[in-house]
């Protein structure tokens, strides 16, 4: 097939597919499109796949990839439940990046970032995001976007973006979050919901994901995230999206969330991902996230400890009081991180409450004698003895 004929056919197929997917949006009789064959290497779509194949090779070797076979299999299974016959073409990679994101490249490479894993409360919420990304994939939105840009003679702009793909998945982020039009996002939302429902997940969790994210972003100083955050620039207006998802979910009630399984699977990584969250230094967003987590799971000391760390780091107004309250609540659970006592010690030391500071530091050293900062903490204790 020559290039021109291929493009014409592909465009027609693409249009037909969009029409069918638009119908899917309305609900009835929609079927998941058939598996996507590997495109002709001489085509624009083939070029896109080749580029993504190279990115995937880098991702496989990346030190940022979380290589836990059990967790990997668990996530792959979720993607397969959603993707159905697209399962053999979907390859899931869990990536250590403390931001809310997942994306799926046109060649089937799917990245899930650790920041999303931290934020999801259950399997159904992750499924909502993955379903949305699979929606972009089955609808071949990346290719549509590429052709749309080409048709506007903006190839240069697109290729500049490709040129910046040094970091793993940068293009995929672009494709997954920024490049799609609001029309594409609406379709992907609806396909995602359909896939969730078919896989037996509760579709109501999709609106919850969106609501939780909005709550975090609204906590950030500087006003309305829908105006300042690029994610929202190309996505449908937040309220519209949430309401649409809720309305669609009402038509397909029921389904599971698998929260208990989810919590068990992510528990070994929780502290590491929470430490990443503190490092982001986005105090207000983190407090909103952690407050939500504490309300949902008040018995989990990690959330209390982490919110205390954020308060201590921000150190404004009553933050030290709030931090002490959370450290103490974490400590009361009996399975608090050892650093809980270091945090208390640092606040007491700043407040010149020497006896309390010493007791807290000594407890920290007792629990974590090999901690990287043990020598520093010992020096504080010695200094306070004099």
């Amino acid at each position: 097939m020559n290039r021109r004929r291929f493009l014409a056919c592909a465009s027609c197929a693409s249009l037909l597919q969009v029409a069918s997917l638009a119908q899917a949006a309305s609900g009835d009789g929609w079927q998941v499109p058939a598996r996507i064959p590997r495109p002709d290497t001489a085509s624009d779509e083939g070029g896109l796949w080749a580029l993504m194949d190279r990115e995937e090779q880098k991702l496989r070797r990346s030190p940022f990839r979380i290589q836990d076979q059990q967790l990997q299999s668990y996530l792959q299974d979720i993607a397969c439940r959603l993707g159905g016959e697209h399962c053999p073409d979907t390859r899931v990679y869990l990536v250590h990046t403390p931001l809310f994101n997942a994306n799926m490249a046109p060649n089937g490479m799917m990245q899930i970032w650790s920041g999303l894993m931290l934020r999801a409360d259950n399997e159904a919420q992750l499924a909502a995001v993955l379903g949305h990304e699979i929606g972009h994939y089955v609808a071949r939105h990346s290719v549509e976007r590429l052709r749309d840009i080409k048709s506007r003679s903006a190839v240069g702009q697109f290729m500049v973006l490709f040129g910046l793909v040094g970091a793993v998945g940068r293009f995929a982020t672009f494709a997954g979050s920024f490049a799609y039009s609001r029309y594409h996002e609406r379709i992907a939302d609806r396909i995602g919901l359909e896939l969730m429902s078919k896989a037996g997940y509760d579709p109501a969790e999709a609106a919850t994901v969106w609501e939780n994210l909005l709550m975090e972003l609204r906590a950030k100083p500087g006003g309305d995230p829908t105006k300042s955050n690029p994610l929202f620039a190309t996505h449908p207006p937040a309220e519209e999206r949430r309401e649409t998802l809720m309305r669609l979910a009402e038509t397909q009630p029921g389904g599971v969330t698998n929260e208990v399984t989810w919590q068990q699977k992510v528990a070994p990584y929780r502290r590491e991902w929470l430490a990443d969250e503190v490092r982001r230094g986005q105090h207000e967003e983190s407090i909103a996230l952690l407050t939500r987590k504490i309300m949902r799971s008040p018995q989990v000391s990690d959330y209390l400890f982490t919110r205390a760390e954020v308060y201590r780091s921000r150190a404004k107004n009553a933050d030290f009081d709030d931090a002490i309250r959370d450290y103490q609540a974490a400590s009361a659970t009996g399975n608090e991180p050892s650093e809980t006592h270091r945090g208390l010690g640092l606040i007491y030391r700043a407040r010149k409450q020497i006896a309390e500071a010493r007791a807290s530091f000594e407890r920290y050293l007792e629990l974590a004698p090999e901690a990287p900062d043990a020598l520093m903490i010992k020096s504080y204790v010695e200094e306070m003895k004099t």
């Binding site: 030190p63 940022f64 250590h96 300042s228 490092r279 230094g281 900062d373 520093m376 020096s379």
Partner: protein, 197 residues
Amino acid sequence: MKILIATVLVIILAGCASAVKVSSGENTLGDRLTVTLEGPWNQIKAPGLGPAQIWTMEGMPIDQLLIYTGLKDGEAIHATNSSSKSKTFNFRASMEPDEIVSLFEGMLTRDSSTYKLVKLEPAGFGGGKGFRFEYSLVRKIDNVKLSGVGYGAISQGELFAIVYQAPQLTFFSRHKRRIEQLAVSARIKGVSQKQGT
């Protein structure tokens, strides 16, 4: 530091930056810090950099030495852009060494690089009491594994510090002794041996 590196690279490519030789022997940096060098270094100079001086032996972005010569209370430990909405990490004079190291940790992971504190301990710096820390870092932009070492002290409410990082393979060990020597030679004006942080 990735943001710093990117900024420096952009500036260099734009032809606005220059590398200036820092000679062996005693050098006064800022108003109050002096260091004695066993050999020459290269300092990157360009508009918009700061608040730390940026030195390199191998060239950017292979290795970087950041030198803080008296950062004041409330100032950011990295270059800031008034139009940028990204988070800034600001020094407070009341900070303990743990908290200062956390500031550097926040700065170094602004690009989602992964950081691990290896050691934090009391150490002399600038002629008085201070602290020393070691860390490892996997840089997000190129997946390179880096090692880092830093020294710091607070004097009269100002932060004096050096932070050096280079790839674990070859470069860090090549220059580590030079960094330790530089740290030992550092003197902060107005600090006596008995003075604490």
